[in-house]
Symmetry: C2
Subunit: 234 residues, 2 copies
DNA sequence: ACAAAAGTGTTGAGTATACACCCATGA
DNA sequence: TCATGGGTGTATACTCAACACTTTTGT
């Protein structure tokens, strides 16, 4: 059967259930984490899954994603990126559903604990994710891969940190995003050379007796984006 | 209204029309081009648009995209990437339609001209795109941006070239993808250092009297992907 | 012989990496 | 005073960017 066929127009085409599923990243000063939820409906009720919902006709997809995040965490205006749309015919055992995947970065301590507990949710380390329903495991792997790529090109890491943070915290964040160690001298040199951070005169003493200076992210930092220094950048 | 609500499950949720739209890139040895089609159905019949169709219930999204490409160009097994899903409530004037965008790279000379002419299609330079229906103009800008990013990380340019090509051709391709000139000495040095190309002893004399050596892409070329040399690569 | 495109090396600057010790503080 | 994490500098290797002339050959 031909798909491109003037006869197959609006009212002769099939409609499909559309879901929006959201991978929520957080950072607890040690590890990159994922917020997972126990599924509330049959089938597979009680199993771990991403948070999601069916998209209603009067909401744009992005607004659907924002609502889901707000309803599950109590947060607004958080970092949100569309990831990919998943459309295998049999990805849902009940009926055909396509799902638009998003990922978001939140500051763990901002989160509204009560609303999270309502939803029977839990933070998991990204290297210790339980089995997830449907293709949510794939979505999570894709989200982690997308986060890594984007974190190398844009300073999105700051969306995972509190307003004031220390350089050792920032380093731990990048180490846990990329799952590999950095040299602290080189790390500090590079980060500071980007002129995105503002040093304060306050210290955070929760991690050491000496204390580490707190920094904040300069919102209007202009980023040097015109470098062409990558692998296939002929 | 709450989206996340156990009462809002499969049979109580609204279904939505889902379209798949495809941005088709080609390269004619001089310029990066886009294949656009005259819309066959009302409303906006006859206006330029991407090629697309409504997704049927028994096809995965990617298979829908492949079918559309096959029906419009006669080509199978071509490079195809999911771009983004477009979901504004009023993006289609007739009724709610969400559209999954794809982009594909084809070898212009492979294309089945007859099937293209059936569809009333035309190649446009990417710096000279006409006004497109709906949000297809946005899709095209997004596709060009995505192509540029991906072309810097993976050797996808070869999907736009014939099996045998010259280095000046390859350089022209990258120049037209990025819309900026390269130094031929630096370009050749860098390309050849990647060990992805196999030189043949044949020459292409269509562009000059001297002729340029033909190369082919090594399919099993292992790419050095472990460099960490980018802007936010802390 | 000449026009037109193909092909070729070197140098300087900037950036990444490797590496080890002193500092400040609370217990 | 000592254990713990915070903070600092230098030398080497590498990669990018800038730059101009010679070669080939058909007409």
């Amino acid at each position: 059967m031909k798909l491109i066929d003037p006869a197959l127009t609006y009212n002769s085409s099939q409609k499909i259930l559309v879901a929006v599923d959201c991978t929520i990243f957080g950072f607890d000063s040690k590890n990159l984490k994922l917020l997972l939820f126990r599924r509330k409906v049959e089938p597979l009720k009680g199993r771990w899954s991403l948070i999601g919902a069916f998209l209603q006709n009067d909401l744009s997809i992005i607004d659907g994603a924002k609502s889901i995040l707000f309803e599950s965490t109590g947060l607004k205006d958080i970092y949100l990126e569309q990831l990919k749309t998943y459309g295998a015919v049999d990805r849902d055992p009940v009926e055909r559903v396509i799902s638009v995947g998003y990922y978001s970065l939140i500051r763990i301590d901002d989160i509204d604990i009560l609303s999270v507990e309502d939803y029977d949710a839990k933070w998991f380390n990204i290297d210790d994710i339980p089995e997830l329903i449907l293709d949510h495991g794939t979505m999570v792997s894709d989200a982690i891969a997308a986060l890594r790529i984007r974190a190398r090109h844009e300073p999105i890491g700051f969306n995972l940190l509190p307003d004031y943070f220390t350089l050792p915290q920032l380093q731990a964040l990048y180490e846990s995003i990329f799952q590999s160690k950095r040299d602290s001298r080189n790390f500090r040199k590079k980060v500071l050379s980007l002129n995105m951070l503002e040093k304060t005169d306050k210290k955070d003493k929760s991690q050491s007796k000496k204390g580490a200076f707190l920094y904040k992210f300069k919102k209007n930092a202009k980023l040097v984006k015109d470098r062409r220094d990558f692998l296939f950048d002929f």
